[in-house]
Symmetry: C2
Subunit: 146 residues, 2 copies
Amino acid sequence: MAKTQSSDEMGTLSSKDLETVIRGADLRPTRQRLALANLLFAKGNRHITAEILHTEALDAGVKISLATIYNNLHQFTDAGLLREVVVDASKSYFDTNTLPHHHFFYDEEQRLEDIPDGQIRVENIPDIPEGYNISEVGVIVRLSRS
Amino acid sequence: MAKTQSSDEMGTLSSKDLETVIRGADLRPTRQRLALANLLFAKGNRHITAEILHTEALDAGVKISLATIYNNLHQFTDAGLLREVVVDASKSYFDTNTLPHHHFFYDEEQRLEDIPDGQIRVENIPDIPEGYNISEVGVIVRLSRS
DNA sequence: GAGTAGTTTAGAATATTTCTAAATTATTGA
DNA sequence: TCAATAATTTAGAAATATTCTAAACTACTC
Ligand SMILES: [Mn+2]
Ligand SMILES: [Mn+2]
Ligand SMILES: [Zn+2]
Ligand SMILES: [Zn+2]
């Protein structure tokens, strides 16, 4: 079950399943890594910064350093469990939804939100230069209070 | 003539015209500011970082500090002569094309390029929450060497 | 359990950007 | 033209996010 779940639907994984996911990524299920996996994957999609994840971990009583937060965010990203979304010049967001999809970004709140898949379509992407391939097509719809 | 040109077509402005543009933005045509305007607007569209613009200025023999580069990039942006594009987590790009348009981003070269306007269409943007308005719709097509 | 490889960590280092406060320059208008 | 004023530039310090280093710790293997 856990093996075939894509990362945009890991919303109901038990700690047991998370350990399986972590081992599947060739990583050891340490106390810190399991705690982060829980915060990230145990309840629906998230778009989160390193600093906020750190605060959440500390609030949950998990003793963990910021360096470990960064290490794990990158390891999860390399393993395809997360993806990095660049919307803000000053910090990176990590997204638990690794399927292709687009985003709303709420300027004032600095908050990222998925646009339900299938909603937006990008048409007429021009030919790309010889020797290149498209690695991602990302749409960001920026919203401000009106 | 210069007065009505939009910033995506300032490719042929003389120094005289640039001074007019600068004064029109309520800024003083200082040596440094004119030099930067020349580098930015005198030859077609550009997507440039502060650091690279600084290097170009120094290479052109213009004595200018990095703080002044940042000051002017932000002043030009506030005046609507530039716009900031966020594609890379580690640095900001400033775009001389201020009309709505989309981008290719060449991952390896860290280079931004305009997608000719009218090419890409974004369809089916979902309803946005009450109290918000769309400030920008940006598409980034990331390209990597294949 | 010993060995080893992976992990965590504090703290230092880096990189980009912004800030501060003082010196310089452009503008205004008497 | 010149003095007064306001804008601009600048060096250097500071802020921020992120990465690196190297040592301590922990998980896994046999
Ligand atoms: Mn990264
Ligand atoms: Mn800025
Ligand atoms: Zn997302
Ligand atoms: Zn552009």
